[in-house]
Symmetry: C2
């Protein structure tokens, strides 16, 4: 497997684009993205578990009852959730794209991200669609424009692609995604769109997506808030002409592994670019009796406001890490628990068998000043492990969210 350029337009047969259509006041910021496949795709999607589901999520869930799709139209700026005409506008948006592309309405999936409770300006979408269609590109520029059009408070676009072999066929997967607040396990205000030219049955594609999502996007947290709009969608158009994957065979594992690598990078990027974040925090819990338990414990650490604030302050305050493990609702023996911090600058053990170690504060500071900080926890009770990703809690998080609507 190798990393390649091109994002969602790397796989054969996909075009993408993004324009400013007027949902956002700022004319220099794209706010409408379109992804189109040359052929009908096997499609699978995973959506927020929030009881309050945005209209586009409900529309996509219905559309995917038949797991085929050709295009995805997504806007940023307005979440189209809990607004007076949310469902009406979501259906209009889907219909507009279908008419423009001359496809069935159910072959178009839609997505929205932004402010909750405000009506979506569908006229702006109608006005912007002709230019968006004209701008669709099958090269890097198309993926780039689409990736930028779904950004909200993100500071960098998230875009990745991989290429791998299935026997004699080259297969590609590309992805774009956006954060960066309301991010919590069970997915955040996260939109992630994946494309692939792999040939795969929709039911098997969904299994792969679910397995990968549980180990990637469901293992990141920015702020503990699970959004109303989270959507993770993959389109696979079969144009790589590999033998169709119909079951969990060897090819499935190769594909799933490539998808896992891709989504791991996108998930890490989302955590790294969490609102106001200065640090990417990677928490690894190992020597645990089960992966599920390791995951719950690691999530508790990356979700702890006190731990996040300590990392912002480059403070090796491991007591907060141990404390966060302790309230995760899992049983473990604190007196067997070891904790260390590491980064590119080295590693330092701070807690052994539940008790503080004397350590070099200057070395700890040097380690914690790095952009990615790893918190390593060993429970000495088994062989299982899990890794979760989060970010620090900063002044800028408060600033960004103290006045988001205005």
């Amino acid at each position: 497997m190798e990393w390649i350029n091109g994002g969602i337009t790397a796989p054969i047969g996909f075009k993408a684009g993004g324009v400013h259509c007027g949902i956002r006041p700022n004319k220099t910021k794209n706010d409408l993205a379109l992804i189109v496949s040359q052929k009908e795709c096997s499609a699978a999607g995973l959506f927020t578990r929030n009881v309050v589901k945005a209209a586009p999520v409900q529309v996509d869930q219905k559309a995917l009852s038949c797991p085929k799709a050709i295009a995805i139209l997504a806007n940023s700026g307005i979440a189209n959730a809990c607004a007076p005409h949310d469902m009406e506008n979501a259906l209009k948006m889907q219909k507009l794209a279908a008419a423009a592309l001359h496809v069935d309405q159910d072959d178009v999936l839609i997505g929205s991200t932004g402010v909750i409770g405000v009506d979506l300006n569908v006229d702006a979408i109608a006005n912007g669609l002709p230019l968006l269609l004209k701008n669709l590109a099958s090269d890097e520029a198309g993926s780039d424009a689409a990736a930028k059009a779904i950004m909200t408070t993100d500071t960098v676009k998230k875009e990745k692609a991989v290429c791998f072999d299935l026997h004699d066929k080259k297969v590609k997967i590309g992805g774009i995604s956006k954060g960066s607040g309301m991010i919590h396990p069970n997915m955040g205000t996260m939109l992630c769109y994946l494309t692939s030219d792999v040939s795969i049955e929709a039911s098997v594609l969904k299994e792969a997506l679910k397995e990968v999502c549980d180990q990637t996007f469901n293992r990141i947290s920015v702020d503990g808030d699970t959004s109303t709009n989270d959507s993770l969608i993959i389109l696979a158009n079969g144009m790589a002409e590999n033998e169709m994957i119909k079951e969990k065979n060897e090819d499935y594992e190769v594909f799933k592994n490539a998808l896992l690598q891709l989504c791991t990078q996108l998930a890490r990027e989302m955590a790294r670019d969490g609102e106001g974040a200065k640090h990417l925090i990677t928490c690894k819990v190992h020597d645990c009796e089960s992966e599920e338990k390791a995951e719950v414990l690691a999530k508790s650490v990356i979700g702890s406001s006190l731990t996040k604030a300590a990392i912002f302050g480059c403070d090796a305050n491991w007591g907060r890490v141990l404390c966060a493990l302790g309230y995760a609702g899992q049983s473990f023996d604190p007196l067997k628990t070891d904790i260390s911090f590491s980064s590119l600058k080295g590693d330092i053990a701070v807690c052994k068998e539940g008790k503080g170690l004397a350590f070099d504060e200057e070395k700890a500071l040097e380690i914690l000043k790095e952009e990615e900080v790893i918190i390593d926890i060993s429970l000495h009770e088994g062989d299982a492990e899990a890794t979760c990703w989060g970010c620090d809690l900063t002044y800028d998080y408060v600033k960004i969210n103290g006045d988001y609507r205005t």
Copy 2:
């Protein structure tokens, strides 16, 4: 029932005091508190549910296996948790107080709050005890000194007392408590010590304490972090000479109601003085099918970082409130949900049946600028309700916790 002065020394037969003994470097800040009853008390305690329990918590749990006590010795500055000699030092601390007071070791309860992982300076406690004993007072000054000695990042002391009648007897309850970080339902780094001259059996006292705690301290959150040291202890010495309460009779209800009023005020004060807080946030969920569900939903709202940051910014961002309800793990119908904000400056409806209402932003701003902001949520599905308290997320929270150890 009436509110009275005197805190924990208001009930008959209690003395209290506080001194600086040297656990903290700052000599102007008291760090050791003592509460002593003239007679042996019925005693009850509730402690953190964190798997990682500080040594003093473990000592108190053991001591309360016989539910009698005479004194409480507590320090601030060091949590005496996860430190190399934590248990050894906790037992020394208990023993020192017992020797000084000439009582059995198990009649002394202890408490600590502060930094995790660092050994407690027991010599400082030994050196400070003589002055502390000398300073013990049965008037307001004693309660005041003790209340101040247990403060950490608290900006104001928390101290309340009430008086009520049980037939022809005046009964009093007093309390002191401290926050203000690591505060979350299941109690925070919360120490709360209550005294009463009521005559009550220890088993019934514990029931009352548990019922009241569930409706007060377990309904506040500052930052979602449940500490290793949370302790809520009540001592009742019987010196009011009421007929002993041995069961859940009418007198029990009168006593429990007074305790509830007292603890509600202490809990609100703790939330109000949350680290860096500028607003007290009161969230009321009503017209709900059960109190348990209403509580879970209200806790989700006061725990939402995004809602907390919005209140800091005086932003009527009700979408985040609805979103937080949605990820609380409870089922409800968003399309029946109403939300309004209120304060001393009036109230404003912002969401009706799950959809945003047009509202006067200037009026909303005026309401949200008040120190206590109430978020009212109606689910229109039943008669039950619950209220929880939290605080906003501010720059100062990040500042305080970005560098707490130094």
